[in-house]
Symmetry: C2
Subunit: 195 residues, 2 copies
DNA sequence: GTCTATACGATGATAGAC
DNA sequence: GTCTATCATCGTATAGAC
């Protein structure tokens, strides 16, 4: 990838994160890069293509990272901890891209949308397999696998929406809080209210 | 509120939910209402005003509902259960409006943005007070109140993004799953991983 | 690879008749 | 209250020179 192409991507990530995809114009991006807007089209065929590239890289990296993190044959609760930690760390370290990937699906064309959703589904199915395995061997309580996978992933992803890199808590602290909360829910989540 | 004004709001909710605020044009709304686009401006001064009205009503109703649900002086874990259940039910029963209120803050003007965020902050602070109370009297484990309030609210809100009214699970089932999962996390969320 | 210039469409909003 | 007509603006994208 050429230097300017990388600059355009990087500036676009900043702007899409700051103002949103629709509110960001090609002129804005060009201004940020210090070139004319027509020059953008030498590197990317359209604004939508730019959005797709950003999302595509992000989601591919996310799926690869999760797979790598799960190669160890640990007990199921330990594997779930690793998965949660990996997810949270990725979403906080690459906050802007993940924010975009989770909030700008609307901007994609039909085919690109399908492509990103396919990656997301692949990712979710890995989490669902973990939950199912833990439930089936008794490590986790009986739960609805799909609902809980949405809940867990959404909870962990939400950090990308409010996390402040210079703030009070470090990434590892936040990851640990989420990890413990989720494991507690998976191990005890059917407690009934006192009558 | 006149009949046409209500129609415009209702059609706008449908379209903002379906296509997003930015991708929905005044022409789209007018077509949906069976009138000309100029006529919209008799009822609302701008497209942004329309978005604000929708968000404002939704958030006000949400805050009122939560306050009403907590008038009973139950034990803290019971009150938290009620709060979670109320939140989930509201978000699933009024799915479209809540989806909009959570995903289209970008479309608001400065002042309107501040107004909506103030309501959201008020709402969050009620949840934070519940968590803090439970933590201080030992019903919940020691936790970071702010982080956990974001996590819990985001988890519960996420239902508005994937819930399918005609689907497999009823609102009450989903609310019960979330409720139990969250209470388990609050009561056991500092379990450490086995070493 | 980047520039200037421009085509072309769509959009939010207004004016004024009925 | 709703209409027709229209404005001004801005958006993405392309053509062709350098």
């Amino acid at each position: 990838m050429t230097r300017m192409k990388e600059t355009i991507q990087s500036i676009s990530i900043d702007l899409f994160y700051q103002k949103g995809y629709f509110a960001t114009s090609i002129s804005d991006i060009a201004r940020g890069c210090g070139i004319q807007k027509a020059s953008i089209y030498y590197h990317f065929s359209s604004k939508e293509e730019l959005l797709f590239q950003i999302m595509s890289h992000t989601m591919s990296d996310l799926v690869s990272l999760l797979k790598e993190s799960l190669v160890q044959a640990d007990p199921i609760d330990q594997r779930m901890r690793v998965a949660v930690r990996t997810h949270v760390q990725f979403h906080l370290h690459r906050q802007k891209e993940n924010f975009i990937a989770n909030s700008e699906l609307r901007g994609l064309s039909e085919e690109h949308y399908r492509s990103i959703v396919a990656l997301r589904d692949e990712y979710e199915s890995i989490f669902q397999a973990l939950i199912r395995e833990g439930r089936d061997n008794g490590a986790f309580v009986a739960v609805d696998v799909r609902i809980l996978s949405y809940a867990i992933l959404n909870l962990c992803t939400s950090g990308a929406f409010w996390y402040n890199p210079g703030g009070r808590l470090a990434v590892e602290d936040i990851a640990a809080i989420y990890e413990n909360f989720i494991i507690a829910g998976l191990q005890n989540g059917t407690l009934r209210p006192p009558v």
